[in-house]
Symmetry: C2
Subunit: 298 residues, 2 copies
Amino acid sequence: MTRLQDFMKTYTPLIELELSRVFPEHWHVPDKLMESMRYSLLSGGKRLRPLMVLAAAQAVGGDPQRVLPIACAVELVHTYSLIHDDLPAMDNDDYRRGKLTNHKVFGEDIAILAGDGLLTHAFYTLVQAARQHGLPAEIALDIIEDLSSYAGAAGMVGGQAADMMAEQGATNLEELTYIHLHKTSDLLVFSLKAGARAAGAGKQQLEALERYGRSIGLAFQIQDDILDVIGDEAKLGKRPNSDHAQAKVTYPFYIGLEASREKVKELTEEGKKALEEGGLLDPSTLLELADYLLDREH
Amino acid sequence: MTRLQDFMKTYTPLIELELSRVFPEHWHVPDKLMESMRYSLLSGGKRLRPLMVLAAAQAVGGDPQRVLPIACAVELVHTYSLIHDDLPAMDNDDYRRGKLTNHKVFGEDIAILAGDGLLTHAFYTLVQAARQHGLPAEIALDIIEDLSSYAGAAGMVGGQAADMMAEQGATNLEELTYIHLHKTSDLLVFSLKAGARAAGAGKQQLEALERYGRSIGLAFQIQDDILDVIGDEAKLGKRPNSDHAQAKVTYPFYIGLEASREKVKELTEEGKKALEEGGLLDPSTLLELADYLLDREH
């Protein structure tokens, strides 16, 4: 078993457990709202972002278990963004990971509110990291500032807005890169920096993790684009870009499939190089993670 | 001029100024998203919640100007909640304060994202209160914890969810009170406690402000119910509850108009009493505010 597999096997169950009890038991929340939030939060998934929080803590010599509340905060934000992105006014998706999307089960009104509730609760969870897990208040504030920047209008929400606008009109490769960096890289960068900050990382380490997160986040999205195009080819029996009426704008659309594959490899190497030069004590899990993301088939 | 009028005249322009520059100038936010957020944030309104933040700071002997960032954070949250509440899947309103609602101008997708961005930015603004205005990190964390509780699934979002569900089925006075307390009182209580915490309030003072906020928040909503019913009577020429097909569930619906008016007075007196017994140094602005809310006509 590789180091990464071992890491996932150890920590994924702990992340699931922590997520299952992320809402205080004494809280009085309307049943349907609570069901809706838990439906999406506890519907599986790879827990990639929480694992990155833990691996970043490990990379700077910290204990992954101590940053579990921060890992939960990231997953709360990620889950809220999926619920809102799936709404009819956005991507209008009926299914996610083989299950009905939140609004198909609970209605649009509750789905919007479930997203709002999950986002708000991410900040509660970060405060609890300080209150119950001994994180110094100053560091907790740094992490809260990061989350509100990377997940906000200049970050993830801005990326999603740009994506919505791009689907309504012409766009270009620069715009697509902006969308990928903000929709995807920003929350990965937050995950890495937050885990590392909580474990006492210094400036050089944080910068290395930021470079790594930006690179592999962009690689991850281009890989998604590639898989989309290949999937469409297999399903539709036609080549990408050929008379593809509802073509999603993708990296292969602009630079072709082979150049996109090269770009993924190049970005992955850049990300790994940033880690290796970043003065990290133990980056091996994160290094393996970069290759794992590159090699995935879905 | 009364103390309250003087207070409003002094501080409302400062609140407007602070709101107008709440997003850092160097932030790269998609234009349409930024326009959408600013459209709703800077569309006037009484700025009641920001004024309560400032008045609560004054009540415990602090300087209202120093809590302006906290006042902005509350208004960001209030504005996001209005944008999301107005959406077609929620209250489906086309106008607010005589202007088109956010989604009518910018589309539902951008309106949802503008709400998400404003909510996220409230937390950024609270961190800035610590970073730039010398608020101790521990107190900033207390305030962030309060916001994430009072505005979240067990607070304002829970109240809105209960309201949505109540409109779809039978409800009762207890449920209506839950809705009013969470949809309205919770953010008022947060405003008061946050302003007071930042100005160094003690436990007894915070409890008094909480009791005051709960009471006048509920009074405010019942007054809204009364004005709704009276407005309908004037417009429709019929008495409340009489064959009113699309009757909104209101306090007068359950206990009648006169008893509702009595309840508003009673709650206002309770709120004022809490202030007078709360060991506050200078509660006069807040005392006047309670009467001001009671007497309003719209």
